[in-house]
């Protein structure tokens, strides 16, 4: 019986050690150095690009990989490579493969772990599960329940040092993606989740790294809340270039900008099994005139070729040319078609987009996906909110106020008709508005769909922006969230992708102008 008990005890000890690992047993006074490399918010930007306001190319996965390999080359400094979320969605290079290209890239670059970002859910749970399965590294999120394969933390041993990495993602994730993407998932408090796991991690590891997708402001608060309990907070989400990281509660709070334009480097010095010093810096990632070479460059090139092939897909046909050229001063069939898509997507009474949304006409015949990307080049997404009739009139007045200037604000609409007189002064031009065939009622609320650019007040549509501010001031806890004035808000799908899917479904389209917008003073 004693033997059996001893065996059970031995087995349970061995099991515990296999799960949690054994804390490092550094000799007294022995110093070790380890290096943590980190990126965040890559968003599939595999090729270098010129950011707004810069004449230089930045980023590029091949050049990021070259920096990583260089920093990993010293065998005396064992290294971990981590990603702080939002890696698989964003650029076409990622989106056209639902992020598979990025996971393959990260496998090739030998990532050691990543935290799930909010945009990792944008292709739906099934796609995310598939990406997690394909990854040769763990995908972490200690505060998310409901996604098989997701791990709360990982403990890695490098150079005799045990490093625990725990992942935390913003609990606001379900509020800014399509509701279907978050069905059945639970997002817990990041702080509570960290505090629940921290004692176990501290016992099991020499170093505890918190890998977050919360944003730099939230990371600073978190570091203060668990002061002394963690050795570094490495974050993403806010796309912050933390060049001079603060030390909060002895832990550096780090973030490496966005799109692989910078690589974060954190060097930790350990003595007697605990971190005694750190230094952190960002390395700029730029091609600098060098050619992209090596296996990662080849992988980027392979997927770029496949991307070109996918962009050549014929999504359907149009029996009539789609007119974007006149969308800045009159109703066009292309404008009405896209506005219809926006209205139906949100299930709204009416839709209003700006003519500047449409950048290129499409000739009658086959519609190639690349044509749609040229015609709708902006990463806009659909939103809808409740708006009183008088405010809708105000928005339409703004839309036709500068029709002579042919600026991008001119509306393209769905679910309503507008008659205006361009000879009248701006602000008094609208003669008549009908919604669903009935006169607009000033005091009645309508659901109005548009895209995020106008909803934020872009192209001068301040009346849309005011919807959110009025709601926020009245109900600060609810402002900006779905369920208050805001009835639809899906940042996970670009408008052009919804338009492409609509055409795929219809196979053939023949949108016509229908006198939705009539200028009454026109000869």
């Amino acid at each position: 019986m004693k033997k059996l008990l001893l065996l059970i005890l031995l087995a349970s000890v061995l099991f515990s050690l296999s799960v949690l690992g054994v804390p490092c047993r550094l000799d007294a006074g022995e110093k070790r150095q380890i290096r943590i490399l980190h990126v965040n918010d890559f968003h599939g930007f595999a090729a270098p690009y010129r950011p707004y306001g810069s004449d230089e190319l930045w980023g590029g996965a091949a050049f990021l990989d070259a920096e990583i390999r260089s920093l990993r080359s010293d065998p005396a400094v064992p290294t971990l490579l981590l990603a702080a979320g939002d890696m698989i969605q964003g650029d076409n290079w990622a989106n056209l493969f639902q992020g598979r290209s990025v996971i393959e890239l990260m496998n090739a670059m030998a990532f050691d772990g990543m935290v799930m970002g909010n945009h990792e859910l944008d292709f739906g749970q099934a796609a995310l599960k598939e990406r997690i399965r394909e990854a040769t590294f763990p995908v972490l999120a200690a505060n998310v329940r409901g996604i098989p394969g997701l791990k709360p933390f990982v403990i890695k041993e490098i150079g005799g040092v045990k490093v625990a990495v725990i992942g935390l993602v913003t609990e606001r994730t379900p509020l800014c993606t399509h509701p279907a993407n978050a069905v059945g998932l639970t997002f817990l408090s990041p702080r509570a989740s960290l505090e629940a796991d921290l004692p176990e991690l501290r016992k099991a590891a020499d170093v505890v790294i918190v890998l977050t997708h919360l944003g730099h402001d939230a990371d600073r608060v978190l570091a203060q809340q668990v002061a002394g309990g963690v050795d570094a907070v490495i974050g993403g989400h806010s796309h912050t270039r933390v060049a001079n990281p603060p030390g909060i509660g002895n832990a550096p709070v780090l973030q490496a900008w966005e799109h692989g334009k910078a690589l974060g480097v954190l060097d930790l010095t350990l003595k007697d099994g605990r971190v005694t010093a750190y230094s952190a810096r960002l390395v700029d990632v730029k091609p600098g005139g060098r050619p992209a070479e090596g296996p990662v460059a080849s992988l980027v090139g392979r997927y770029s070729q496949r991307m070109e092939a996918l962009l050549s897909e014929v999504v359907g046909r149009t029996r009539i040319s789609l007119n974007a050229a006149e969308a800045r001063y009159r109703e066009t069939n292309f404008g009405s078609f896209v506005a219809d898509v926006v209205r139906r997507t949100a299930g709204a009474d009416v839709a209003l987009i700006n003519g500047g949304t449409l950048r290129r006409s499409i000739r009658k015949g086959p519609i190639v996906l690349k044509d749609l990307h040229s015609a709708l080049p902006f990463n806009n997404y659909v939103v809808a909110f409740r708006l009183r009739g008088d405010k809708l009139r105000e928005a339409l007045e703004h839309g036709v106020a500068a029709v002579e200037a042919r600026d991008g604000a001119f509306p393209q609409i769905s679910g309503m008709t507008v008659a205006y007189d361009s000879l009248k002064p701006p602000g008094r031009r609208i003669q008549r508005i009908t919604v669903g065939g009935r006169e607009l009622e000033s005091g009645r609320e309508y659901t109005v769909a548009t895209h995020d650019f106008l909803a934020a007040g872009g192209d001068g549509y301040k009346v849309f922006g005011e919807v959110v501010s009025a709601e926020d001031l009245a109900h600060p806890a609810e402002g900006g969230r779905q369920g208050s004035k805001l009835v639809y808000n899906d940042a996970s799908r670009w408008l052009r992708d919804i338009v492409a899917d609509t055409i795929r479904t219809l196979h053939e389209i023949r949108p016509l102008t229908e006198n939705r917008i009539v200028e009454v003073s026109a000869p």
Binding site: T177, S238, T240, W257, S469
Partner: protein, 66 residues
Amino acid sequence: MKVYVNGHAVFLMEGMTVRHALLASQFGESWEKAAVRDEWGNEVGMEGALQEGQKLHVTFSPHDAE
């Protein structure tokens, strides 16, 4: 969600980013030329996520301001 751009409050929908904050602010369409920093002086990207009460500081290079 309320954030501050150069001290002025702007109101945004959940999921909107730095770019939207600039659109909603006095800077409007010039956002592409702006350099944006957080309250600690860190540069932030236009697609950076925001949180309640966040403070942004926007500057334009002298060349762009002309």
